[in-house]
Symmetry: C2
Subunit: 192 residues, 2 copies
Amino acid sequence: MPLNQLKSYYKEMIPGLTDEMWANMEKHAIVQQYKKGELYISPGEQENFVTFISKGAFRYFSVVDEKEMVCEFVFENNYLSEYESFLRRTPAKVYIQALEDSVAVKFHYDHVQECYSNYPLIERFGRLIAEKFLIDAIDRMNSLLSSSPEERYNKLAEEKPELLQRVPQYMIASFIGVTPEALSRIRRRLVA
Amino acid sequence: MPLNQLKSYYKEMIPGLTDEMWANMEKHAIVQQYKKGELYISPGEQENFVTFISKGAFRYFSVVDEKEMVCEFVFENNYLSEYESFLRRTPAKVYIQALEDSVAVKFHYDHVQECYSNYPLIERFGRLIAEKFLIDAIDRMNSLLSSSPEERYNKLAEEKPELLQRVPQYMIASFIGVTPEALSRIRRRLVA
DNA sequence: GCTTCTTATTGATTTAAGTCAAGTAGCCGG
DNA sequence: CCGGCTACTTGACTTAAATCAATAAGAAGC
């Protein structure tokens, strides 16, 4: 079932994907469940997978001075991976944790590299994904640099209202770079 | 001369690059000079090039409330482009400006796509570049989220001391997300 | 060499967020 | 249904940066 979902996703994303290519990919796909609160990866571990979230939600966070710093949320129909660890083959720096009961489809690093070598079309897909993520990251960086916490919250509420429903407020606070108390006051200001 | 520099760079970066491939790339390379202060691109324009900086320095910035927000510096032997505009084929959002007299080698979008299609090796190179930039962007984002301006300045001074020499302080201030006055005080605190 | 413009510093004041602490409300598990 | 935990809110106070304004030091142009 998660595999069918992924197949439709790929068929749409990659025009020209053949059944043979898909069969090859499917053969190595690992379907895995995560319970709410469960860790997908922890700092120090090696990330060997790029993971498609079929259902559920995850967050990236690190711990600095005993405080959690949330740096990303990812929901179903998106990719999950500790990219730096995966791409550079170095130990992970951050935690990734399931925020809800989730279902994921994982592809091993070796298999991904093999696909890149065997199928230029998939390598192109990999490039396009990396480029898309890059643009997103640049965008987010610019918003962190040029907007106040209040503006960032408003933008988030406007662009991803569902995120505010699915994620505890103290994680949102961390994500936009303020304390939970500060976010609470920002929200109060907005109502008044 | 800039082309020879670029050729060595590529030979090192892309094992397996053939002379034929290089000849094809060189054929479409455009060498261009920029004077200090000159704009490489402005918001609203279409970015059609990915550019290798052979010599010099550039900054990315946007203007918000009549204030300049510097979001990136790039020096020689690195790539320059308004990536979002280049990749998405949408109008540029930011300015890119030469901070010194500079020399650049530019490749047109169409030519880059053609190379990707003709040479899987170059497409792979494109993917690796995008992945590298992605990791850099994620890193910078995490530092913006989890560090104070003072910590960011210290980190910058440690990791890129040459940047502090080549770039006016008020641009550094903007880059780390504070006013010039605040950076001046941070520096004073450090000395004392 | 002098003027002018730009960049950097410093001071006084305001503002927004951080911190510490307490209290409330909602939710989950027993 | 109750008890305990977690998330959220609120208040008082502290801290750091923004803002406004003025001055000083350098660099660029005439």
